[in-house]
Every structure is written in structure tokens, then in C-alpha cells.
């Protein structure tokens, strides 16, 4: 599922509310029928994982250590990782195509590699829901595609619910099953990509005229038209 919308529409805020990182002020966020705020922090982290926009760590950590952090909600205060924990971490890293840099320092990785490691760390929580905040930000084209391929694989093969906040209409339309367009903190439209991604709705929400091209497959592609009357 994808969250789309202009800057400041509330995509990141909504993700953080869903992840239980921000207190809910109005309305409610329900996770398996229970308010997110009623979960203890550890219990919540076993069900829902959040991947922040790529981070920098003040104190250097290896990729392996960061992935192992995902096991935190499952571990006691001092218990070392069991063989099972290690297997889960390794599988998470393999799913994200990151086994080859397991022993490298995180801060030396490229943007795309970092993002994959952070996703692996979230997967190591063995959650039911995975939230990603603009995961393709600052990634080059091939890494953007790779990332969405991974997301689709996680959904299809691991039956994870994945919710992505993104600016990329084309990738969202191509890889995601359900989209919500946000504007000014409210829902402007929601539905399957084909229903939501129409030039009319996009202009309404993103304030830019677009032309729709039909690419080989049956997913739509959008090219922005010139912005009239500005500059």
C-alpha cells in the first residue's frame, strides 16, 4: 500500500502515528483491533516495524549489529542471540540482498545499501506490518527499482503488509496494490493505482498537470507538464 501526496500533506506523520512513535491526539490507530497506544513498546515492536529515512550513526556500528537490533523486542536484558535469532537476522539480510556487506561498518555503505540494511533490521523484528518512510529518497534509479522489487517480494512471499510513503507516482503505480492520496492532512482519494492515478486527481492533489503515457505493460506512467504561470 502506498501513501502519496505533496510535501507537508501528512504522509510521514501518518506513518509515525501508525508506528506508535507519535501520540494519537484525535481519532484512533488500531492494530489488530487494539489501540496502538495500548500496546507495551515491546509488544508493539513485535507486530509493527518502522524504517526511518536513512540515518547516520554517531557511534559506528557494523551492519550485523544493526540487523541484530531488530531482535531487541524478542530478547531479555542480557540473553545472547540464540541460533534461531541469528538465523532470522541472516534471512532478513538475505531477503534485502545484503548478505555480502554483513561485516562492514554501516556508515561506509552507500545510500541504497543503508536503506536495505535498515529494512533488514526491521524485518528481523518479524513484524506483521512494515512501514517505510520515503525509502527511495536519494537513491539512484536502479536502486529505486531494486527497493520496490524487494518490497513486492516481501508482500508476496512473506505476506507482510507493507505501507510506503513515497513521492514516486510511477514506481508506486507499478509496484503497489493500493494507494492513498493525502492532501492537507486528509484523504483526497484512495483505491487501486488505476483508479487513483488519473491526471485529474493528480492535478488536484499535487497541483501539477501531468500527461499519462501507457507503457508496455498495463501500468500508467506520468510525465509532468510545464508549470504554467510560474517563473
Amino acid at each position: 500500500m502506498g501513501l502519496l501526496g505533496p510535501n507537508g500533506a501528512g504522509k510521514s506523520t501518518l506513518l509515525r502515528l501508525m508506528a506508535g512513535l507519535l501520540p494519537v491526539q484525535q481519532g484512533s490507530v488500531l492494530l489488530v483491533g487494539k489501540a496502538i497506544g495500548d500496546y507495551a513498546a515491546r509488544e508493539r515492536a513485535k507486530k509493527i516495524a518502522f524504517v526511518p529515512q536513512s540515518t547516520h550513526f554517531t557511534f559506528p556500528l557494523s551492519v550485523g549489529e544493526i540487523v541484530e537490533m531488530g531482535r531487541h523486542p524478542h530478547l531479555g536484558r542480557f540473553a545472547p542471540l540464540s541460533r534461531e535469532d541469528r538465523a532470522i537476522c541472516e534471512r532478513a539480510l538475505r531477503l534485502c540482498d545484503g548478505l555480502e556487506f554483513k561485516d562492514r561498518p554501516f556508515n561506509e555503505l552507500s545510500g541504497g545499501e543503508r536503506q536495505r540494511v535498515l529494512i533488514a533490521s526491521a524485518l528481523a523484528q518479524t513484524p506483521e506490518v512494515l512501514l517505510l518512510d520515503e525509502p527511495t529518497l536519494s537513491l539512484d534509479l536502479s536502486h529505486q527499482i531494486l527497493l520496490f522489487e524487494i518490497i513486492r517480494k516481501l508482500h508476496r512471499e512473506e505476506s507482510l503488509t507493507v505501507i510506503v510513503a513515497t513521492h514516486d507516482l510511477n514506481l508506486a503505480g507499478r509496484y503497489l496494490d493500493y494507494l492513498i492520496l493525502l492532501k492537507e492532512g486528509g484523504i483526497a482519494a484512495q483505491g487501486k493505482p488505476k483508479e487513483v492515478l488519473t491526471p485529474r486527481l493528480i492535478e488536484k492533489v499535487l497541483d501539477v498537470r501531468v500527461d499519462r503515457l501507457n507503457h508496455r505493460g498495463d501500468f500508467p506512467y506520468f510525465v509532468p507538464a510545464k508549470k504554467a504561470g510560474r517563473l
Partner: protein
Amino acid sequence: MNRVGIRGMVLFLTAIVFIFVLLGCPFLGPTTISYGKVFQHLPSTMDNQDALIFFNIRLPRNFLAALAGGAMACAGIVFQAVLRNPLACPFTLGVAGGSSFGAVAAILLGLTLPFGGFSLVTVFSFLGALLSLFLVYSLAALLRSYSALTLLLAGIAINYFFNALVLLAYYVADFTQSYAMIHWMIGSLDVVEIATVERLSLAIFLGFGLLWLMSRDLNLIAAGEELAKAKGVPVSGIILASILVASLMTSAVVSLTGPIAFVGLIIPHIYRLWIGNDHRFLLPASALGGAAFLMLCDTVARSFFGPTEVPVGVLTALMGVPVLLWLLFNRKTYLQS
């Protein structure tokens, strides 16, 4: 050797050095004492001067150095982790300023009597440290933000405030008083009674235990508050608890020794370099290493500058600066940014 192997090795070697220094250093000093004579009759008699020096003067003082060094190193680690700032140290939240103000006020008012087994200077200095903590937390509460940056800035502000008051007290004090103030503020390990050391050790061991229990949580908080929260760490609770424990440990130590510089900054960095940033290992290793380091510094301070001794705070600062510079020049492998 792999990471885990190195970690175990460093911890083991540190423990060995710690034990040697703990039991060996009291034999070194301006007065030579013999091993045989110290343990001649146990319990030792009043005319056995070597045993008197060993048991009544050097051993308590060495224990105080160990407790102070270990506590400062642990507190430094916690502050660096929670504030995510490699330059944070136990004094970042203004504890040094507050306790200095307390001590200086007591000296200025001529309060040198003992109170409840401690000197009034110690009592006042501890109260001063508590006051500075209270002010920092009140500021944070007033701003409705307990974030790292708020605490850091509030701590700096409070520290400056108390330092100004210390300077004022120093200005109005007479010559003897100002000497006592300077002596206190450099940080030194004076002769203490074993009973004082016993009480301090209770507080330090308790504090260390609490911090160690939070090791895993601190690992995640050091990586980032949001990340930690997403991985199930009760972030604000752990931050408040760990900073409070670390600050109280610092206050207890500083009220007895004065603000000894650099131990709480340098030792954590050396061990971060050697064994990495997993607090389950970093905390005990740095505690032992910090203890050994301060005991060694104190032995040098009281042995090699006869007939007087140098305040240990001068030595730790003199040794701390080169180490800090060395870390700076090695930042490619270490403080990589």
C-alpha cells in the same frame, strides 16, 4: 581474531590490570613500605607504621580512586549514548558547576565541620550537584522537551551560571580560602576514611548495576531515538532513568574528589575503539579501565612529585589531551562522519 574474541580478550586483560593496580598501587608512594611488614600481624598493631600507612591511608585512597574512575567512565558512556554526542562527559549536564558552587560556598562560609560522617564541603557540593540537576530538569520540563538537545543546552546554561557564581565566590574569598577552592576544583583524591569509601561504593555499585541492566536499551538509543522507539524501547523512560543514575553517581564522586577532568571522556572512547559500542561489554570494561587509570594517575601524582603531590585532576587533564588528539587524528577509523 574476530570481534567477539577481541572483546573477551580486552575485558579479560582489563580485569587483570585492574586487580594488579588495585592491590599493587598502595605499596608505591613517597614512603617506601615493605610487603612483609604490612601483613606481619593481622590485625596489625599500632606500632606497625607500614601497616598503618597501608591500611589507613593508601588502601582507602586507592579504593576511592577506583570508585571515582569507574563511576566517571560509566557516566561518560551513558551521557555520550543518550545525547548521541561523542564529546559528552559526566559534567555535560552541569554537575561540575553545581557541585563546585556547593563546595566553594561551604569553604567561603567557613563550614569545615564534619556532618554525618562527611565533611560539610562534601555535603554542600553534593547538594549543589543535585540543585544543578534539578534546574536542568526543571528547564526541560518548562520547555516540555526532554530531547538530547534540550538537556544539553540547559546543562551548558546551568553550568555557566554556577561557574559565574564560583568566580564571584573566588573573588571575594581570602587567600587561604581561595587556595582551598582551587585545590577542590582541580579535583584531587585526599585521604579518606574507609567508612566513607564503603558508603560511596554502595552507591556506585548500585548505580552501575542499574545502568548495566539498561545496556541493550542504551545500544538502541545511541543509534537513534526514533529507531529505538520503533524497536520497542521505552525511550523517554530509559533516557530519564539512565541520565539520573549517571548524574547521581557523578555527583556522589565529585562531592568527594572535586571535578576530575577527562576520565569520563577519554576512557569511554578508548574502549569504544577497542571493543565497539555494545554497552553490555563497554560498561564493565570501561568501569574497570577507568578505575585502573585513575588509580595509576593517583599513584603517579602522589609519588613522583615529592615532597608535595600534584592534584590528580592536573595529571588526568595532561594525559587526556594527547589521547583526545590521537583519537582526532585517527578519526578515519573511529569518529568517521
